[in-house]
Amino acid sequence: MNEQLLRLTNINKFFGNSHILKDVTLDINDGEFITLLGPSGCGKTTILRCIAGLESIDSGDILLYGESIKDLAPNKRNVNTVFQNYALFPHLNVYDNVAYGPRIKKAMDENQIKKRVTEMLELVQMSGFEKRMTHQLSGGQRQRIAIARALINKPDILLLDEPLGALDLKLRKYMQTELAQLQKRTKTTFIYVTHDQEEALNMSDRIVVISEGEIQQVGTPNDIYNNSKNFFVADFIGDRNIKEVKVLEKKEDFCSVKLGSSVIDIKSNRSMVDRDKCDGRGSAILAIHMDKMKISYTQIPNSLFGEITFVHYAGSQIRTDVDVDGEVVTVIEYQNDYDNYNIGDKVYVSWEESGALLLPKEK
């Protein structure tokens, strides 16, 4: 594996007066499945289009194998894109769509092209569809043809722009596995854009969380999920209780905070708050994964005391709302030690240490 196949350095991009990308810097390794994750309008698709060459950048550089490609036209870059709406050519059949790349590049003769197209269609399990027109295909089939068409040129990087967005839930889940396997088989670097955190967590080697044109955090799915670096990531990824707390004091290995009338200790390795700011006056954000919490009727150290206000059974999981001094905390459990919770019960809410994070209040 070569390190740093693609390097984005301090990329800035403006559309009129709006600053779309703000100093985006990112290294992408050879052969990895990396996902750009963020809400719509955060600039993730723009990053993809800049890499493809369909959008120019206002400052910064894009290096592929250490060489700048920022001034190259899209047809001179060895990267290919799977478009959001697939963009299959409606006047060409499946075979001609897939063969479009090598034909237009005059890279091979027709015999070689035929071999490659057959290979590609096998790869995406669409053999036998050569003569079909694209409008005769279902969404999932079009998706596969779009991937085959993009992979036939053997790109250094395959860019995928929310390719599963138009498919129904079941097919989407199926295609997630397919895509991840395809990536491993072809050993091609995939840069995948999505707003769906589940998709990102499922498929990626690394995730880049983006908000308002800025990279918020880069890390493995596990890192992103458990060790969110800031408020935005904590709020965006997973279901968390997010509460503002008063920081009382920071000791050697823990930090005391106050939520309502309860005082809680957070271990230092779960706190991202600066030591200097723990002077007893500042406040911070406490973020706890709902599914790493637990309800009990007996007192446990380091827990919150409150009253159950709502119980919702959703098949395998139970969601319970607990009112803690006016703040509602939601707990998700997959099984509980008690037959039933009753609204109005007085309970203690605790959590696994790794489920909680103390984050600075500002971005």
């Binding site: 290919n80 894109t81 409606p90 237009i104 890279a107």
Partner: protein, 304 residues
């Protein structure tokens, strides 16, 4: 794709279920009655008269003799008259080609303008329609005549020492006809280019196609319906327009339109004029039929 239930037509929705299906159809078509009446009276009947007239003949004073004959149609096969058909046909073909060559780039760039600018350019393209076409044709004589604007400018700057003879030629008629009909071509192609999905062009660039290769492999085939429509819209009137060839051609080259006009008025031979009119209509129907075939093929392969 599998649909659990076939979609029901909108007119069978519950609120209409009391009324019969046929009643509904009749009601829907009711507003089109005036236009059907208008066309049958003002187009259908005259057309029928022309068809009948074409099988009659005339006496030396130009009075119609009510006797069936095919003479008029036999005369049409005379090489002199076939030549006239050929003139008209080549004028229409060349007009189609010229308007296509000029109109395509105009339509393409108009479609790529931003919204406000686009409406403005379309307005400019449509603007000449607000002025009488006869007047605009006279404009060309002012421009191209021996004592016209172009000759005067060229003489003034000593580019030439005697006026260029640009009037009363086939090319003059072609210029005038192409000028008159080019908006139809531009608007037709514009509609096709405007509908073109830009992501298809991006996909072509992305796969390694340059600007020209993308144009010939993607843009051109996908805007073919617009080209075919534009060509038909230009070709048909170009066959029949006669005042342009009268004013700009000076009768040096004879076209069907002029021939029919001459025979019906000065020649006092309305039956023969009618036969030629029918001949021209048949030619137009042939072109429409070919267009219909092209459009149908395109529809099958291009759209869902």
């Amino acid at each position: 794709m599998f649909l659990g239930k076939k979609a029901e037509p909108y007119y069978s929705l519950k609120r209409n279920s009391g009324k019969g299906y046929n009643m509904k159809r009749v009601k829907q078509n009711l507003p089109s009655l005036p236009i059907i009446a208008y066309f049958s009276v003002l187009v259908g009947i005259p057309l029928l008269l022309v068809a009948v007239l074409s099988f009659l003949s005339r006496d030396s004073l130009g009075n119609i003799i009510f006797e069936f004959s095919l003479d008029n149609y036999k005369k049409m096969l005379d090489p002199v008259y076939l030549r006239v058909f050929l003139n008209s046909f080549s004028l229409a073909i060349f007009t189609g080609l010229i308007t296509l060559l000029i109109g395509y780039p105009v339509a393409y760039f108009t479609a790529s303008l931003e919204r406000k600018m686009r409406s403005f350019v379309i307005l400019l393209i449509m603007l000449p329609f607000w002025i009488s076409s006869l007047l605009r044709t006279y404009g060309w004589t002012i421009l191209l005549g021996n004592d016209g604007l172009i000759n005067n400018i060229l003489l003034f700057f000593n580019v030439i020492d005697k006026p260029l003879n640009m009037m009363y030629k086939f090319g003059t008629v072609l210029t005038g006809t192409a000028y008159m009909l080019i908006p139809f071509m531009i608007i037709s192609i514009y509609n096709s280019v405007d509908k073109l999905d830009r992501s298809l062009l991006e996909a072509s660039y992305d796969l390694g196609g340059g600007k020209w290769k993308t144009f010939f492999n993607i843009t051109l085939p996908l805007t073919m319906p617009g080209i075919a429509r534009g060509f038909t819209l230009v070709f048909i009137p170009a066959l029949g327009l006669y005042f342009i060839s009268d004013l700009l051609g000076g009768g040096n080259t004879m076209f069907i339109g002029n021939l029919i006009n001459n025979m019906a008025t000065r020649g006092r031979n309305r039956p023969l004029a009618s036969a030629f009119a029918i001949g021209m209509i048949l030619l137009v129907i042939l072109v429409l039929y070919i267009y219909g075939r092209v459009a149908k093929n395109n529809k099958e392969s291009l759209y869902q």
